[in-house]
Amino acid sequence: MGEVLIELDGVEKVFTVRRRAGLVRREKRQVRAVDGIGFTVDRGEMVGYIGPNGAGKSTTIKMLTGILTPSAGRLRVAGIDPARERMRLAHRMGVVFGQRTTLWWDLPLKDSYGLMRRMYRIPEARYRANLERCVERLDLGELLEVPVRQLSLGQRMRGDIAAALLHDPDVLYLDEPTIGLDVVSKAKVRAFLRQLNAELGTTVLLTTHDLQDIEQLCERVMVIDHGRLMYDGPLGGLHASGAAGQSERTLVVDLERELPPLEVAGARVVRVEGARQWLAFPAQASAAPLVAAVAAGYPLLDLSVREPDIEEVIARMYAGRG
């Protein structure tokens, strides 16, 4: 194994929440958002960091980036204590939030990049080389002169990723980098991240609800819930650790009228809501015969297939343990 880049040991974060209890009286309550987490990430690893909302993911990321100070434990990123030297660390990390942008809304994309050059004090030659690489790989050539407000979501996302990489960060934190993107844009973003990791060895910590992001990018997954690390290992092991076994896809059907749960071979109804029903079937099985069977036997108006998501895999994992 290589050099350790991120190191957490017994890290805790306790928030004191004040709540109004009556007219004047206020109740104090302690919330353990992160409850003794320890792991290390080597330089060049690409790790998925997943868990339900409120599990402590974003609190961990905030401690790793230095905007929150841990209540206890030891934390180092590239040898730096983030909370003590936030600004110094900021020069060595990149952050991308799928739903937020760091780009300058009314100005052409390239103006935001010029600002990044100043902010991160990137030497001219390196800036040019990095920009050229990002422009080529992320297909930004024709977008540089376009004001950011006119970009599509996928274009803007690519623009944001480039902005986070111009200063050659050691570590890149990605929060839902493919959220809301169409299939083609998702593929482009994932291909770029794979290449970035392979060629430059940039360490990536990825938070997502999209199982495919993890499947296609990360060999290692960490699952956090209630502030604790529940699983740390290969994605395959995550599937296996859930006793319920394989993951399932869901066929959502809209019928002409309310009906009792459908009876179709190879699937079972997991939910009924008015004229809409949810049928679960094994993820590897083809949806085609199932669709044919439903269409043949019932008055079908519309249907869609949903891929298994992270939440579901995790839920199954807990179900397996419980």
């Binding site: 974003s58 110094r88 020069h91 937020r100 760091t102 300058w104 103006d111 600002l115 100043r118 004090r121």
Partner: protein, 303 residues
Amino acid sequence: MSRQLSPDAEADAEAEAGKGSGGVRRRAVVRDAVHRSQLYGAVAVGGFRRYATYGAATAAGVFTNTVFGFILAYTYVALWDERPGLGGYSQGQALAFIWVSQSLLAAAALMGGGFQEEFQERVRTGDIAVDLYRPADLQLWWLAADLGRAAFQLLGRGLVPVLAGALAFPLELPVDPLRWLLFLAAVVLALVVSFAVRYLLGLAAFWLMDGTGINMMAGLVSVFFSGMLLPLTVFPGGFGDVVRMLPWAAMLQVPMDVLLGEGAGAGGAVRAFAFQAGWALALLGAGRLMQAAATRKVVVQGG
């Protein structure tokens, strides 16, 4: 691509080596200051260019300021005909007050329209969280951006109304170039004070979530207390003394004093600058305290 030594590492190494020698350390400090001013300079240029892209809005603004100027000018003519020398101004000076203040209206964002709506929107949507991960100071960043905006609006929206006013009315404006230079310095300080007040309003969005109400109230307050509606020198007694000491006075009345009235001499200008700088420092300081509380809040709540 080869991974080079980051500029930071260089600076670190230099600082390390410079522990014994003051010269090297001083050089590192100077270079740091240069980098900083380049960054915030670039932010200001960006602020200028952003507003420059909206030509139609600028034209509409110029038109509004000019019409507003005419309405106020005729009101003032009537008022000063009735009460010559009101507030220590001759009629020509009162008219100059109106037209010059129309040119400062947008720049100092006296009726809103500066950076704070955008800032509040970033707070509301949570985009502000991204800004916290940058190696830059939030307050300085927005100050630079707002000064860039103000510079554009001073030129883009300020010049035409003054020219229109000068063509239609006999304005009594000073001809001494030094006086105009002092006035410009007072305007820069006015813009900083205006920013500092609006930064507090912007930060209020962390608690209010919606800034519309507070912005409207702030607009009303600043139009009156800056002297935009009537010069503050007009108000008599204790009330007049109080309004002339408030921060809004630093945004318009004080620069106008430097240009036209009692702050005109060198000594008066120094007093005026001290008044403005005092408010600027106090309000920027308050902004920093409030910013610390606000970031703690946003960081804890998520986003």
